[in-house]
């Protein structure tokens, strides 16, 4: 059958009729097979009637396809009352001839069977109902009631076969509902007749928490999702969650969003988290995870982006009050419509319901940032693997929508490497870890980035401090006994400051010493200079005297020469000669 499915799927695409039910068209890749019957089966109270009714109503409202609802169980006005809470106004739709609800009453006590009969009457009614509004969709809910009302099984079975043929000939897309049987899909083996598409609804209770699930058992001629998909019935009808997207082909952004703590941003090379990434903040109790989350929310709203905050632990008012103490005014953002809180106790409903509720809230509010605080509380309603698979699907969805998500997780184990954080640590893009550092009789918080995909990040542990004005990170001191935080860090800083002063002092003393030495030396140089000058002067004096003597002797010699040539010379010159 599987081969056949693939084969026909490739040859020509099967025309499909969209159901309009949120998510169902995605897993059926377009809807139910057009012009063919589809069987929806499940045990009592699993939502068969609602499912099929929504198919009819959505068809009439969204796809302009009128529908006929043949009810074997409930009267038309009962149905209308039942679904009024979902916002479906059946009476109005009936008046507008968009839908037709026909109640077929089968009561064994009123009916006597004698001899041969057939169900032509049903066919005529059905045909009449279809023709009167030009219906494209038909629901028979649930045809098995015929088996309770009529005893001739052979006739019934033959007529059922004819009925499905009749529906196909009419070209209507039909839903047949059937009660889940002990060993077969339906009690009366309806799946024998409806072989094109079979959907199984299920209502399971695990740990006292109920979850509705849907599975496509078969869908001839089409590929389809094969998993069990949880679905939710709420005031807007049914939402099925196609929980795992099949491919990993999401768009990625290189935009960066700030964490709201500038010192934290600076620990990452890009100055924040990538938009559309997932961030895990984990730490032991009381380390300020919610504060980080709230700061992130605050920063988001200050950028005029929308933030959706899912609180599983505290009530919104509690968070708003508490965050007021660190200087965050979240109420303002709520008033501006930028911040929305969704608080729910995890035990309120099952994990899948949480996921569906989260999906719905996100689709409605269209936030840029989503915060889940804390995911660890979800463990109370599911196993670790359940929580993990839920978060995988959530992250998947958020990444597709380019929504940045921050999870907080409580770690009970203080040894980081051993704890798994619901196993999401491998899924998230960035992981901040806050750690208690106990030293010198006090407890301080150390924050570091375990990982940050796609960017460099600081490998240092910073001290994470919560002040009245918000959060800050301070470099911790590495001392001989490990990192120093809190007052020890203060002490160390003081110590270093003192050292600095002492050091400066020492330096200036040395400088003065040097100056003094220099002065002494300079004085010495002065005296030597003087000595040198006097010596030089002495030497110069001798030299000049020599010169003078030499000049005088020359003159004398010249005079002597002139005298010898017979010139008379004055007395004075003679006297000078004598002296020589």
């Amino acid at each position: 059958m599987i081969d056949q499915t693939n084969f026909t799927g490739q040859m020509s695409t099967l025309p499909k009729t969209p159901t309009g039910i949120t998510g169902l068209d995605e897993i059926t890749m377009g809807g139910f097979p057009s012009g063919r019957p589809t069987l929806i089966c499940g045990s009592a109270g699993c939502g068969k009637t609602l499912f099929s009714l929504e198919f009819i109503v959505r068809g009439a409202l969204q796809f302009d396809e009128p529908g006929v609802f043949i009810a074997f169980e409930e009267k038309a006005n009962e149905l209308a009352t039942n679904v009024a809470s979902l916002g479906f106004d059946l009476n109005k739709l009936q008046e507008e001839k968009k839908i037709k609800i026909d109640y077929i009453h089968v009561d064994k006590s009123e009916i006597e069977e004698t001899g041969e009969y057939d169900l032509e009457g049903l066919f005529i009614r059905l045909g009449y109902a279809i023709d009167s509004i030009g219906a494209k969709r038909v629901v028979l809910d649930t045809i098995e009631n015929l088996f309770a009302g009529l005893s001739n099984q052979a006739v019934l079975r033959a007529e059922l076969r004819r009925l499905f043929q009749f529906l196909k000939n009419k070209g209507v897309t039909a839903i047949i509902t059937g009660e889940r049987g002990e060993s077969s899909l339906t009690r009366q083996g309806l799946e024998e007749y409806v072989s094109d598409c079979v959907i199984l609804l299920d209502h399971r209770i695990i740990n006292q928490i109920s979850t509705r699930r849907l599975r496509i058992v078969k869908y001839r001629g089409s590929v389809h999702g094969t998993n069990e998909y949880p679905f939710l019935i709420d005031e807007e009808g049914i939402s099925v969650l196609p929980v795992t997207s099949l491919q990993l082909n999401k768009e990625v952004s290189t935009n960066v969003v700030s964490s709201g703590i500038s010192t934290l941003d600076s620990m990452m090379s890009k100055g924040g988290f990538y938009q559309g990434s997932s961030i895990l903040v984990s730490g032991t109790a009381g380390t300020g995870k919610t504060s980080i989350a709230a700061t992130f929310a605050d920063a988001t709203c200050k950028r005029k982006d929308r933030c959706l905050y899912f609180a599983f632990e505290e009530s919104p008012n509690q968070i708003i009050r508490n965050m007021g103490s660190i200087g965050l005014n979240l109420q303002n953002h709520i008033n501006d419509g930028l911040l929305q809180f969704h608080a729910a106790r995890p035990t309120l409903y099952g994990l899948e319901m949480h996921l569906v509720a989260i999906h719905k809230a996100i689709r409605k509010f269209k936030p840029q940032v989503v915060i889940l605080d804390p995911i660890t509380n979800l463990i109370t309603v599911g196993t670790v693997s359940d929580v993990k698979s839920m978060l995988v699907r959530l992250i998947d969805f958020l990444q597709e929508e380019q929504i940045t998500v921050m999870f907080t997780a409580l770690t009970l184990n203080t040894i980081v490497n051993e704890q798994t954080d619901e196993g999401v640590s491998s899924l998230v893009d960035a992981w901040l870890l806050i750690k208690d550092i106990e030293l010198n009789g006090e407890r301080n918080r150390g924050l570091y980035i375990m990982k940050s995909r796609g960017m460099q990040h600081s490998n240092q542990i910073r001290e994470f401090v919560i002040t009245n004005d918000g959060l800050d990170l301070i470099d911790v001191y590495l001392g001989p006994d490990g990192v120093l935080t809190g007052s020890a860090r203060e002490a160390q800083m003081l110590l270093e400051e003192t050292g600095e002063v002492l050091h400066t002092h020492a330096i200036s003393r040395k400088d003065r010493e040097l100056l003094r030495k220099r002065k002494v030396l300079e004085a010495k140089i002065d005296s030597l200079q003087t000595e040198y000058e006097s010596t030089e002067e002495e030497l110069n004096k001798v030299y000049i005297e020599e010169e003078i003597k030499k000049g005088v002797m020359q003159q004398t010699r010249n005079k002597m020469t002139e005298i010898r040539r017979g010139h008379s010379t004055p007395d004075k010159n003679t006297k000078a000669d004598k002296k020589e």
Partner: protein, 94 residues
């Protein structure tokens, strides 16, 4: 009970073998047991499909006893005389 007027309706869909048989059987029984105190209306649903809803007709042929109360339906070709008479409250189950 013998005094009461019987109001009967027989729903058929065209002239099928079953319908003809049913009508024939019904007429025989009525002539025999209800002579002069019954009215019989034969409704062909092929001509009046909208009438099927009122009496909650599923099977064809269906005989509906409207009056006297309680309303009873007998489906089939009415070949079992005993059952028909019991169904019409003409004869109580022995």
């Amino acid at each position: 009970m013998e005094e009461e007027q019987y109001e009967l309706r027989l729903y058929v869909a065209g002239k099928t073998q079953k319908s003809v048989t049913a009508l024939h059987n019904l007429k025989t029984y009525c002539e025999e047991h209800l002579l002069g105190k019954y009215t019989l209306e034969v409704i062909d649903l092929l001509e009046h499909p909208q009438l099927a809803e009122g009496d909650q007709i599923l099977a064809i042929p269906t005989l509906v006893k409207k009056v006297p109360d309680p309303v009873r339906k007998i489906i089939g070709d009415l070949s079992n005389k005993e059952k028909v008479l019991v169904g019409l409250d003409i004869r109580t189950k022995s």
